[in-house]
Amino acid sequence: MTTISHESHAFSGVWASVPTPLKADLNIDLIRLNSHIRTLFAKGVHGVLLFGEMGEGSLFDVDEKVTALAYLIAQGIPANAIMLSASCTNMNDSLKLIQQALQHEIHGVTVMPPSYEQEISEQGLIDYVDQLIGRVNQANWRLYLLLNAQKISMPDAVIEDLLRKHPNHIVGMIDEGANPTHTLDLLKSFGDKVDISSTHEMNHKLLKSRGVVSPLANLLPRVIIGMSTSASQTQAHSVPGLKVKQGDERVQELVTLLGKYPSTLAMKFILSIIYRDADWARSRPPLGELPLASREYFNKAMKTFNLNTSEE
């Protein structure tokens, strides 16, 4: 019997932050989502983060997220290979989502306190997470703090306080910022207490963390896996007609190519090219779809990039 093990509760391997495909009526296309995740697992990805920034989490309500989660698990996706972003615009929604998600025994949830029109104090941030953990009121669940200084700044003193108060619940931090210095500072300050990860693939090598969260794993799963495991860091990827390139060169090329456009739309459009399926490019308003000029640019750029899905 061929299996990929998801037995461990540890955060390890590459976790893809997956986009959410939509049907023509703009509801979640559960069949496409399921087959995309299965395909990633078949290529060696260890787990998935659902409804994060890449998965347009803020555009779906709690019931839609829970329904999708239940469907995927019923279809055979291992619950402990799923992380769910529970960053909602208010605490009650986050609470409801976490409580329902935990019934499915998923690996864990990621949370970022909601941003607000007015300045949020350090004590306010601490109170938010305190209240959330207190109200979930369950033992043995794993919370990953999602950090993104552009959206909401979480000072070290706040993190220190939260880790001290909730050592059994807060098990990791995922830095969405691109600055490797910030991620390394987190590692120095808190790496002995919790897992530190980054969503920026070029920072994965610096971190040497066991687990990484990667949006680009949707497109280049094997390359990201190769970059994140020391044994295969020397593997090069053969691109017909071009010189043999290292995985990180391919990732840097793709980051440069994607950097000019909103990432979710660009990612979905590239998936629509890979799967030869225009429906993958659909997003909910206000995101919508890439403008025609951008689609033409990506079509040309992806031909130059020459994505080799059998190897990458």
Binding site: T3, S35, R38, T39, A42, I77, T309, S310
Partner: protein, 74 residues
Amino acid sequence: MDFSNSWYVIERNNRLEVMSHEDFVALHPANCQMFQNYQNRSGAMSEMRRLVQNEIKAASAKIQLMETRLTKSY
């Protein structure tokens, strides 16, 4: 995750195929492109049907274009 009873849509020698996991693992990865994995054969067949219909539409559009050009040239 258990893939042993799953099905794959692949492309080999410019032809789309649906293949069981058992057959898929026996292939050399360089000789085919794996599109997607499905839990059952009907899911994989349905995806292959969609891909073939895409190819037919693209080919029809090419033929139409050629016919238009030929008509204009006369």
